[in-house]
């Protein structure tokens, strides 16, 4: 029983990890960033490359990946997204193109492969990241087996969620972000520097994706299209939770993760996924704006 709950919890934490960045870029900024998965991927590659070239360990890779993904996100905001605020579907389409480009850039080793130069750690192949061995050795506390890596992910996710909540709801930056989302013109007229705040917000959401990338790299394969499959799950979570509601995102990932875990243990993984999709559809039909959403008149 506790084991099932733990599996559900760890599934939830991974969903939340991916959805957290999205709930900011999508929920707070109205950008459907299909390249979010690629920012996750960039975070993972940052960890791989920093391991190979800088000999950085896993823990130092976390902030580094945050920074790298945040920078890429910031560039993305500057070059593409900035011109598309308010055109939500267009953000989806444009970032879809960006996702293709980013994937292909990694695959082609930033184009160096054309010149026959091979960069260790890049290219179309699979890469791996080393995890400190104390995070992979399970141990027991009072007869309860503890999986350190998954527990670590759960804790980091929790901390990031709290941090995000604090930033969004307890700081003036957060108010600014939310004001911009609702009405950028009025926000500007109220003295908010829309461009700067948007750029920072987007960078923060992207940075979260980078951190997710490192953590995922610990138990998943690092490869150019590793992000593509995660982004869909992330969107399902954000939308089911209610766009713009951080609490909704947290609860939706909790719910979907637990459902997935329980069905996977009781029946099988395939059925579990089918049930998750079914639940997503049912929830949206039941609450057409997600679990938590503000209803204006």
């Amino acid at each position: 029983m506790t084991e099932t709950l733990f599996i559900g919890l760890s599934l939830s934490s991974i969903l939340l990890l991916i959805a957290l960045g999205l709930s900011i870029t999508y929920g707070a900024m109205g950008v459907i960033n299909m390249a979010h998965g690629e920012l996750v991927m960039i975070g993972a590659y940052t960890a791989v490359l920093s391991g190979i070239y800088l000999n950085l360990n896993f823990f130092l890779a976390l902030p580094l990946a945050f920074a790298v993904s945040a920078l890429v996100g910031m560039a993305l905001e500057r070059l593409v997204i900035r011109r598309l605020y308010g055109r939500i579907i267009d953000t989806l389409l444009a970032t879809w193109g960006v996702a293709i480009v980013l994937q292909q850039l990694i695959r082609l080793e930033f184009g160096l492969s054309f010149f026959g130069i091979h960069v260790e750690g890049l290219g179309p192949g699979l890469q791996s990241m080393d995890v400190p061995s104390f995070l992979t050795q399970p141990f027991e506390i009072g007869g309860v087996p503890i999986q350190p890596y998954r527990s670590f992910i759960i804790v980091v996710t929790l901390l990031l969620t709290l941090l995000t909540w604090f930033l969004m709801y307890r700081t003036s930056m957060g108010t600014q972000v939310r004001a911009i989302m609702r009405n950028p013109q009025i926000a500007a007229a109220c003295g908010i520097d829309v461009r700067r705040v948007s750029a920072f917000t987007f960078a923060y959401g992207s940075g979260l994706a980078g951190v997710a990338g490192v953590l995922l790299a610990g138990f998943k394969t690092v490869m150019p299209d590793m992000g593509a499959s995660t982004v869909v799950d992330g969107f399902l979570v954000v939308v089911v939770g209610g766009v713009g509601s951080l609490l909704g995102t947290v609860l939706a990932s909790g719910l979907l993760g637990q459902i997935n875990g329980v069905f996977a243990i009781l029946f099988n993984d395939i059925l579990a996924r089918a049930v998750v999709f079914g639940v997503v559809i049912a929830i949206i039909l039941w609450r057409p704006r997600g679990l938590f959403s503000f209803r204006s008149r």
């Binding site: 991974i14 091979h118 290219g123 610990g218 996977a264 395939i270």
Partner: protein, 384 residues
């Protein structure tokens, strides 16, 4: 003098390019070597390379381009069964030849395909008995990715397990390309099995082995015995996660022969990557070009019909040893081997057949060396 064109169709882009790029490289390397040695019948081979983009629709379109527009007599192509199935109608209806280098589930008997990868009996006929009798693991948990190959491998395995007095405790699947193994591995732990037979493919493999270790299962207690885990995945997961587990394949990078060492060296030089790994499907991609060359030379021409006539019975000293195309079913005789993975990411070959084993594509259906379903005139439906 002159040129002869052949098609080379693998995914250069998309998710499958991870593996397929190495197949394309191996094919092109073989072509380059042959050309350097004077070509075939005095003609240079000119590869027409196309990108399948990891999508069956694209594979189908490009195959028809190669066959109908470029009119190449043969195409070296495809990694997944899904892509092979998508191009098959083009080859059969237009009577062209496809050379397919991947291990696959069998159940095909096409006059237009030469299969140079292993079929289930060439990976399992020694593996399962060895697991039960030598390794002494009687209760086996079968897991796989949810598609045809793992399901058919499971079917063959179950027959073999029962024949050898073992017992399979479960047969479970995870969606292809997924990597959330938490629930599955805890089921394995709870099942009381002695060993896991893994037909997991692609990047899911890495997540699987890592989760296995993270949940504290040791390869000594419950070894993973895999049919698909190759050097690629081992390198990517970090060798320590796989150390102690087993794989059954006809080819390993660790095969200790002059041919193989030279092959690895040439491949690394060719790709410009000193760490490039070699593996079964890419080795097949390599030697099948030589088989094709011999067939063309034997026929004196390169028409698909001529190649089909002469390809049967061709033998070649491949990096894995001697291989031969079965004239009955155009599959390839290969030597099954079992390797145990070490801390260095290389396998140690601990068990091998003495000589190549006959390919039986319908083995799950009851095909035996005495009772062949696939004949020179196609599938013998009376036996099914």
């Amino acid at each position: 003098a002159g040129e002869i064109e052949v098609g080379v169709l693998f995914s250069q882009t998309g998710g499958l390019s991870i593996v397929e790029k190495s197949l394309a490289d191996a094919t092109l390397m073989a072509i380059e070597e042959i050309n350097a040695a004077g070509g075939v019948n005095g003609m240079t081979i000119k590869p027409v390379v196309e990108d399948g983009a990891s999508d069956p629709k694209t594979f189908n379109e490009k195959a028809s381009k190669l066959v109908l527009r470029d009119r190449v007599p043969s195409v070296f192509a495809c990694y997944t069964s899904a892509s092979r199935k998508a191009v098959l109608p083009v080859f059969e209806r237009r009577n062209n030849m496809l050379f397919y280098p991947t291990y696959y589930e069998g159940f095909e008997c096409s006059k237009n395909v030469v299969y140079t990868g292993a079929v289930p009996n060439q990976q399992l006929s020694n593996f399962i008995p060895w697991m039960i009798n030598t390794l002494g693991k009687k209760k086996i948990f079968i897991v796989g990715s949810n598609y045809i190959y793992p399901r058919e491998m499971a079917k063959v395995s179950k027959i073999l397990i029962e024949q050898n007095g073992g017992e399979w405790v479960a047969d479970e699947y995870l969606e292809l390309g997924h990597s959330e193994w938490g629930a599955m591995v805890s089921k394995i732990k709870a099942s009381g099995c002695d060993a896991v037979l893994s037909n997991v493919v692609g990047d899911s493999v890495i997540a699987f082995y890592r989760e296995f270790r993270n949940q504290g299962i040791s390869q000594e207690d419950i070894p993973i015995c895999a049919t698909v885990t190759s050097e690629i995945e081992i390198a990517a997961m970090g060798a320590e996660y796989a150390a102690g587990s087993y794989t059954s394949f006809p080819y390993f990078q660790a095969i200790d022969s002059e041919e193989n060492r030279s092959f690895i060296e040439r491949y690394r030089a060719y790709t410009g990557n000193p760490n490039a790994v070699t593996h079964h499907a890419m080795e097949s991609s390599y030697f099948q070009v030589y088989l094709w060359k011999q067939a063309v030379e034997a026929a004196g021409e390169a028409s698909p019909d001529a190649i089909r006539e002469t390809i049967g019975g061709q033998t070649f000293d491949a990096p894995n040893g001697k291989v031969m195309v079965d004239p009955e079913n155009l599959h390839t005789y290969l030597t099954p081997r079992i390797a145990q993975w070490g801390e260095d990411g290389q396998g140690t070959i601990i068990e091998a057949y003495d000589e190549p084993v006959e390919p039986l594509p319908y083995v799950a259906y009851g095909e035996t060396p005495e009772n062949l379903f696939c004949t020179t005139d196609g599938l013998d439906s009376a036996k099914l």
